[in-house]
Structures are given as structure tokens and as C-alpha cells.
């Protein structure tokens, strides 16, 4: 039984870690601006496309990766500047619509640049290799993803708890107006949030596309939505919540994909039911259940980590 389930867990942990890196961006932006940044998943996709084109230009890989992260951060920063900042005093619905507009634009822009064709993600030596864990074989990146996620989250939590900018972030997320009155430069804090979020999305994209090496303009949509679901599930505004939520969603989704096999092998069913159809829908069902049962999410009440 364990042998049957283990490979799904492995896939789930890997993809969950990548969702986690995107989910942090959602949860931080929501914590501060109360905005569902619908374009965040597309920033993640854009990071993938940038890597494709930079690597194709012949630059060495050790230079490509920092460059990709840098450009991704710049993209996230510019989106906030151009599309969200002018709407700071507008109703929340307008900002959300603007986010949807940005998402639409990024996708169309990439469609135009790539000609609507799938782009092959470059192979990154080291993490693209195959390793065997027990009976299962997988890429190195699958194994390092959860560790990298934990390292990044610890660093991020330290940044938020120990540094001045982190303190400002916490203040802004608690009370937008008051912190403004207290002399916190709100715009800087918001920019910083977007920079961190985009950076993590960039890292996530490198891991994700190394695992699933094709990029197309819609590549970011589903992972983005699921990462958001993870953020809500874990309690929006809570970073550990987002990470745990992401792992749960990643694992559950892969278990659902393999549920037919698991049930089949356990002798519960005699023929496959086609439950894999619901692998995406399941995440949303989970979302609705949590919203109805505990609208604040798993860790929503812990205000201390709210950013």
C-alpha cells in the first residue's frame, strides 16, 4: 500500500512546494492591500518565458538564473506601480478588475511573443537529473523543493520579524491608515511586498518548469489559482498557513489523480471511475468547504504572522 501511495506523495510534495512559493506572494499582497492579485500566477509564467528567452540567447546558466529573478522582480514591481498604485483610493473591486486586466494583458503579450506555441524550458544541470528514492524515480528538483521552500520561508519570517521593513509590513497589514499616519512610507512597503512576492514566484517558476518543462501563456493560470486557494486555505495573510495549505493541496491533488489506482489496488473498486477528472475541481471544493466552515482559514487567527 505504501509503495502505491508514496510516488503520489512525492509528486504532491514537489508541486506543493512550488505552489507554496507562489502562495506566499498572494498572501502577502492580500495581507497588505486586501487585493487578490490575479496577475501573480502570470508573473510566475512570465518568469518562465524570460528564462526560455535568456537561455536561448546563449548566456551561461549561472548568469541566467539571477537575471531571470531580477527581471521577474522588476515585472512585479512595475505592475504594482502601473496598475495598482493609481487605484489606491479606488474601490477594491476596481483594483481587482485591474488585476484581472493585467493578467489578461500578460497572457496576450506572451501569446504574441511566443506565437502561441509551447516553449521548451532549458535544462538546468544538477537539478534536472534523475534520482531514485526507494522504488520511485524522480528529478533532483523534486527532492530539493521542500527544503528550499523551508529555507526561504524561514528567511522571510526572519525578515518580517527582525528587520525594520518587516516591522513596517506588519504594521501596514494591521492598519493601513494608522501606519500611514505614523510615518511609514506605505508605497515603499507595498513595493517591497511585490518585490518579495515576485522573487519567490521567480524561484518557484524555476523549480516548477524544471519539473514540467513546457511554458505557454496559460501556464500560470492554474498554478496561480491553486496557490491562491492554498493561501486562503491556510488563512490568508499567514505565511506558514500558505505554505502548509500549498503542501496539502499539492498532495491531495496528486492523490486524487491516483485515487483510481489506489482504490483499485485496495480492491475497493473493480474498474477505474475516472476520478482524475476532479483533480483540479477538488482544490476548489476544498476552498469552499474551508470558507464555509472556517472563513479565516486554518491559521487565520494568528495575527502575529499577518503581513
Amino acid at each position: 500500500m505504501w509503495d502505491t501511495i508514496f510516488p503520489y506523495l512525492l509528486s504532491g510534495i514537489s508541486v506543493g512546494g512550488q505552489y507554496a512559493l507562489i502562495a506566499i506572494g498572494y498572501t502577502m499582497v492580500y495581507g497588505i492591500l486586501r487585493l487578490i492579485n490575479f496577475a501573480h500566477g502570470d508573473v510566475f509564467m512570465v518568469a518562465g518565458i524570460i528564462m526560455v528567452y535568456i537561455a536561448a540567447s546563449g548566456l551561461p546558466l549561472w548568469l541566467c538564473i539571477p537575471l531571470v529573478l531580477l527581471i521577474t522582480v522588476a515585472v512585479g514591481f512595475l505592475i504594482e506601480r502601473a496598475a495598482y498604485r493609481p487605484l489606491r483610493s479606488a474601490p477594491r473591486m476596481s483594483v481587482m478588475i485591474s488585476a484581472i486586466g493585467v493578467s489578461y494583458m500578460l497572457q496576450n503579450l506572451v501569446l504574441y511573443i511566443t506565437g502561441g506555441l509551447n516553449k521548451q524550458y532549458p535544462t538546468i544541470p544538477g537539478i534536472s537529473d534523475t534520482v531514485a528514492i526507494g522504488a520511485a524515480k524522480t528529478k533532483v528538483v523534486t527532492v530539493i523543493t521542500p527544503f528550499l521552500v523551508i529555507i526561504l520561508v524561514v528567511a522571510l519570517v526572519m525578515l518580517i520579524n527582525k528587520t525594520k521593513i518587516g516591522m513596517a509590513m506588519r504594521a501596514v497589514s494591521k492598519d493601513f491608515e494608522t501606519s500611514q499616519l505614523m510615518g511609514i512610507k506605505i508605497n515603499n512597503v507595498i513595493s517591497m511586498t511585490f518585490i518579495i512576492g515576485s522573487f519567490l514566484a521567480g524561484v518557484g517558476s524555476i523549480l516548477f518548469f524544471t519539473n514540467y518543462p513546457t511554458v505557454i501563456q496559460t501556464s500560470g493560470a492554474m498554478p496561480g489559482l491553486k496557490a491562491f486557494v492554498a493561501a486562503v486555505f491556510g488563512g490568508i495573510g499567514s505565511i506558514p498557513g500558505a505554505v502548509i495549505g500549498a503542501f496539502i493541496i499539492g498532495i491531495m491533488e496528486n492523490i486524487i489523480k491516483g485515487l483510481d489506482v489506489i482504490l483499485f489496488k485496495a480492491g475497493v473498486i473493480s474498474a477505474p471511475l475516472g476520478l482524475a477528472t476532479f483533480s483540479d475541481a477538488f482544490s476548489f471544493a476544498l476552498l469552499i468547504i474551508i470558507l464555509v466552515v472556517k472563513p479565516t482559514g486554518l491559521f487565520g487567527e494568528k495575527v502575529t504572522d499577518k503581513v
Partner: protein, 385 residues
């Protein structure tokens, strides 16, 4: 500013001067193919065949008049909801005949529009029987899924010795689902077991599906999906060390897929319409043309390996020309009436339509990827009685 206006005006004056350069009457052929979306890569390669044929034979003599053939492109975006307006665009441009599409679903989705406008359509590589069944206006130059499914099932059972096959298709893709159904029928008739799974559109993570195949102890992984998904599946199969062969239909016959399989240990076997080398004249001409046109080379995936879909596009163009000549008119209805009796010797073989409007095909090529060179290798030519 004034200078700019003057320049624009001057340029506009030049327009008529250039457009009267050749005064041949124009006949329009619609190319109804995806240029974006999941099937974009395949659609572009199919279009290349049409474009090459058009470059080679840019004019046609109909009823004693020589016409210039103009290709009108419409991108159906690989999706059935974008298909109507793409089809409508071709109709509104008054094309005489339509070629395409890559992908059976979009072909069916556009079908009614051509029917209502009395324009015949020639399917190039859409293999689902429903495209032509019950339609008098849709024709097709390739083989059909019941045939292809049987060929694949025979091959899986007899050559690969499989008893259990895991099939994976995209939800809502008529091509995938159709071929899997016919494969299943044929394979079960041979005494084998078939497990069918589907993934939602936009899936990138196939690792769990690959695990499923292993979990069912399948001997063959059958995934007749579009190029976009098949490259993902092959690469992830390689990472997971999948030991069983991946079997595919004609959609996998692309240099993009072969490239993905290069340097891995995954065995990929497919059935298709054409094998490079079968017609040296065409091969050389096509490659030379690709090398002259960098844009076209990009559309072919960056190299000059010939995909079978391009061949079908090429043959389809000549079927259309033959029909136009036989009709002696540019009127869609006349072309439709002339099509059933058209016969040509194409690059992919002799093309002749049966009463439903499908080409009579009795053989398919089986190819596999050479893992070292990343090239397609001919395995066998399979026929079904």
C-alpha cells in the same frame, strides 16, 4: 510632422501602383488551422505544407482562365469556442474551398458554418469519423481513427507483446477520446485489457498519471495527445524512469516530439501518414524552401525535419486544385460537386474518396524515435484488411 504626413501620403499613392502588378483574377482557398493553443505547433506545420504547395504552384487554370491562388488564413486557436468566428471569417472572405483543420474537434465545430455557406472543406489530418459522417461538404485526405486505432492495437499486442495498456487523453479533446475508444475496442477484441484516464486541459504535471500506468502494471502507455502534452509526458516519463513504451497517434509525428525524446531512454512508437525519404523530390524541395524562409523554419520548430502533417497539407492543396479544375468554376457548390470524383497521386500515396468523403487508405507507417539522434526511424508499414 509635415514630413511624416507627406511620407505617409506618398506611400499610400504607391499602393495602387503595386497592387496592379499582376492582374490575374484571384481565387481564395481558406486555411482553417490552429496557429495558437495546444495544437498550434501542429497546425503551423500543417499550414507549412499548404504554403509550400502554394509557393510551388501559385496559379491554377479553371475553365480556361488562369487564377492566382490566395491563401486566407484563419486561426481557430485550437479551441471550439474560437472556431466559429475563424470559420465565419473564411466564409465572409468568400473562399472557394477550405483546408483543415488539425484537430477533429475544431473541424467539427467549424463544419456547420461551411455547410451553411455551401463551401466544401477538406480535412487534412483530422481523423475522427464524426468529421465527415453525415456531411456532404466535408472531405478528408487522411486515414480514420477506427483504422488507426486498429493498427495501433495490433502493433501493441503483436509487436510489443502488451496485455495491459494504459490510455491517457485530454478531457474534451475529440481526437484523443475518439482514438482511445477505437484503440480500446480493437485491443480488447485481441484479448487485452485497457485502462482509460483523462487529464484536464492545461495540465502540466503528468507525474501522477505516469505513476498510475505503473500502478496498473501496464505494458504500454498510450497517449494520443497533442504535441504540447506529449512532449511533457515524454520528458516526465524519462525523469521517472518509465520503462514501458509510449505509443501515440499521428499527432506525435513531429520533430518537436522527437527532440523531446532525444537523449532519454523512453521508447516512443507512433503511427503516421508519411515517412521522410519516401518521396525524395518532395523532401528536398520542402527542405530547400524551409531553409530559404527563416519564418517558415521557425514555424517548423526551428529545423527542417519533415512532419507528416506538412505532407498532408501539401497533398490537400493539390486535391483542392484538382477539384477546382474539375469543377471548372470557383463556386463552392460546384467544387463540392466535383470533389467526390477527384483522384490524385499525392506524396502520401494515391488519394481517392469513398462515399462518405474519406480518402481510401489501407496502410499506415509505424515510426519510432532514435533516442541518440532524435530522429524518426521507420519501423514498418502496417495494413489492415
Amino acid at each position: 510632422m509635415k514630413k511624416l504626413i507627406a511620407l505617409v501620403l506618398a506611400l499610400m499613392m504607391l499602393v495602387p501602383a503595386f497592387s496592379v502588378a499582376d492582374d490575374l483574377p484571384v481565387i481564395k482557398i481558406g486555411v482553417y488551422e490552429p496557429a495558437s493553443g495546444d495544437s498550434g505547433a501542429g497546425g503551423k506545420q500543417e499550414t507549412l505544407g499548404v504554403q509550400y504547395a502554394n509557393a510551388k504552384t501559385p496559379t491554377v487554370e479553371i475553365g480556361g482562365t488562369t487564377y492566382k491562388v490566395e491563401l486566407v488564413m484563419a486561426d481557430n486557436g485550437s479551441s471550439t469556442d474560437k472556431a466559429p468566428s475563424a470559420a465565419q471569417k473564411l466564409v465572409s472572405e468568400n473562399v472557394s474551398v477550405v483546408l483543415g483543420s488539425y484537430g477533429s474537434g475544431v473541424s467539427i465545430a467549424g463544419s456547420d458554418y461551411f455547410k451553411d455557406a455551401n463551401i466544401p472543406a477538406i480535412g487534412l489530418t483530422c481523423t475522427n469519423p464524426q468529421v465527415t459522417a453525415g456531411n456532404s461538404h466535408y472531405f478528408r485526405v487522411c486515414f480514420l481513427d477506427p483504422f488507426q486505432g486498429t493498427v495501433l492495437a495490433n502493433y501493441a499486442s503483436k509487436e510489443l507483446g502488451a496485455t495491459t495498456v494504459y490510455c491517457l487523453g485530454e478531457l474534451g479533446n475529440d481526437y484523443d477520446q475518439g482514438l482511445i475508444t477505437y484503440f480500446k475496442q480493437a485491443f480488447e477484441a485481441l484479448g487485452g485489457m485497457v485502462i482509460v484516464d483523462s487529464f484536464p486541459t492545461g495540465t502540466a504535471d503528468f507525474t501522477s498519471y505516469l505513476t498510475n500506468a505503473t500502478g496498473y502494471n501496464a505494458d504500454v502507455f498510450f497517449c494520443p495527445v497533442s504535441i504540447a502534452y506529449s512532449t511533457q509526458i515524454i520528458q516526465q516519463a524519462s525523469a521517472q524512469g518509465l520503462e514501458i513504451a509510449i505509443l501515440g497517434g499521428d499527432t506525435l509525428d513531429s520533430n518537436v516530439v522527437a527532440d523531446a525524446d532525444k537523449g532519454t531512454n523512453v521508447k516512443v512508437v507512433i503511427t503516421t501518414f508519411y515517412q521522410e525519404g519516401a518521396n525524395a523530390e518532395f523532401d528536398e524541395g520542402f527542405k530547400a524552401w524551409l531553409n530559404e524562409n527563416p519564418d517558415m523554419m521557425t514555424n517548423n520548430g526551428g529545423n527542417d525535419v519533415i512532419s507528416a502533417v506538412s505532407v498532408m497539407g501539401y497533398d490537400g492543396y493539390y486535391v483542392a486544385l484538382a477539384a477546382l479544375q474539375a469543377a471548372g468554376s470557383t463556386d463552392g457548390a460546384a467544387v463540392m460537386a466535383a470533389l467526390p470524383s477527384v483522384e490524385i497521386d499525392g506524396v502520401s500515396g494515391h488519394i481517392k474518396f469513398d462515399e462518405t468523403g474519406d480518402a481510401v487508405r489501407t496502410s499506415a507507417f509505424v515510426k519510432t524515435v532514435n533516442n541518440e539522434t532524435g530522429e524518426w526511424q521507420f519501423v514498418t508499414e502496417q495494413t489492415v484488411d
